[in-house]
Symmetry: C2
Subunit: 354 residues, 2 copies
Amino acid sequence: MSGSVIIALDAMGGDFGPEVIIPGAALALERHPDLRFRLYGDEARVAPLLGAHPKVAAASELVHTDVAVKMDDKPSQALRRGRWRSSMWLTLDAVKNGEADVAVSAGNTGALMAMARFNLRTLADIDRPAIAAIWPTLRGESIVLDVGATIGADSQQLIDFAVMGEAMARALFGIERPSVGLLNIGVEEVKGLDAVREAHQMLLGMKLPMDYKGFVEGTDLGKGTVDVVVTEGFSGNIALKTAEGTARQISEYLKAAMRRTLAARIGYLLARGAFAALKDKMDPRKANGGVFLGLNGIVIKSHGGTDAEGFASAVVLGYEMARNGLLEKIVADLGQYHSERRSSAGSQANSVAS
Amino acid sequence: MSGSVIIALDAMGGDFGPEVIIPGAALALERHPDLRFRLYGDEARVAPLLGAHPKVAAASELVHTDVAVKMDDKPSQALRRGRWRSSMWLTLDAVKNGEADVAVSAGNTGALMAMARFNLRTLADIDRPAIAAIWPTLRGESIVLDVGATIGADSQQLIDFAVMGEAMARALFGIERPSVGLLNIGVEEVKGLDAVREAHQMLLGMKLPMDYKGFVEGTDLGKGTVDVVVTEGFSGNIALKTAEGTARQISEYLKAAMRRTLAARIGYLLARGAFAALKDKMDPRKANGGVFLGLNGIVIKSHGGTDAEGFASAVVLGYEMARNGLLEKIVADLGQYHSERRSSAGSQANSVAS
């Protein structure tokens, strides 16, 4: 891809709508001046904000719609009320029609996933899309998927996740053969679920641009043992939320400890640069943006409650994914894997027949 | 229960064996002088340590065996080599024969679970035991089960976990009606697994000493939203390990931040009391001890790599469980639940027949 990266933005998504989306777009544009936006939303609310952000206005095309999906709409409601005409739908439509490279929305996850599946459709060999999260680790960042779209994935789906995650790691981190691990538990002799064991066996024999490392455990997530951690959506979502909760818990402990004595308060003041660096490391806004993988187009889901800084992270993530050809990498690797799988199944069938 | 609490200790279990077990028993005995021990292990290694800890020696009976389960024995190997005669088996045997109230081992989890099931057998209505962990939270502590014994529990097993967890919360925290939540994810419209949804419906109608609060998410673990969090073992183990990993990750960040500048290092020195308090809060040794629930006897699994302080926590946990009648509470509540279930199934069958 040369020239600009065009991002479609659901200007009405999230808890705050355009009041966060437009300033967020402005921050992203500062970092990547070759960004261009297609904005979908209520002109009466969006236009004044564009007036306050003339650089965004100059880089954007605004398409008016007065239908917006609500944060508490069920996916079925959202589809009924918002298909064809809501800001969320039109944002996805821009990707479908080739008017934008990526869609970004802070709207509600269930509705966005339902609309994305309905509008963009899944890739040829994919049954259900996954949501990939970027996980801050001691080594930097890893990709974890699925974090909540597919509950109880079978072995074939886990392998598709591995392939899509590997492609995303190549696009995002610029690594040629990302390391990949399968999330499992190590307590019992017969470890893990059948699907996880099967996927493990299949991954060991695969010829794809990944370095498959076998099983990893929950502790490996924070360590960053592998670039890509593969799991089904139920445990993936629980892991993600547990890590968020634990981080919040420890920062509460830390705050309380630093208020305990006068010496602690003075120490805190002296070390406040260090605490700021720590806060920055733990800033959930930095890793904002779940990537929907497995669709005919790249869709980024921003946290609904984030601020402009967090929304900018999601936009920048979308920019990087488009710039580095994420979708093309996924299509190529999935195509290679599934054609090999089919031809080996075919030759097995032949050898049985002969 | 009046008089002493007698705890059977697998003196050879764990990465360090008696060198940690005996000093750990000594620390526990300081806290609860009415503790008595039955020690199982190699006299040549245990006796000298008892010489160094005369109070433990006075409170103990040592039974010699030179067979010990290894930390990397598979459950099947452990059973083959260690049945009838290993220190782990004899420790469990003491509970079975009524010579001890609780068994504590730092030996390998798979072997201990296999031997415990084989020797103690599961309670009448229980198919597979669960492992309950004590989870430090912002409100204090919660009980989380299962953390790795039963992969993919069905709705009936989830309810058994809820009942056993509620009984353990009553025994450990002294709460009359502990709050109970079912771990789930909130991303998709059709939330969670079938088993989780079914268990939810069944729990809503139950008459037991618990305050069922419905679904909780991963973030609720650290908050301590409920006293008891129920989940199947795969996600429970992943949640536990993810929280451990995140805590370690943040403490690494914190250490690095506090070394960054001279001001930060001075600040650290001034606030070192506060940091010590924080470290204490996050000390994994304090919450050491997974409780095996659903067996005809209480078995505590200590971390294999813990030190004397950590092992003492596991012993004290066993003491409290015995002192507060955990097993009796579990038997009573499970009995009540299953007899109601059976009679309501019977009356439904009758009403269909009539």
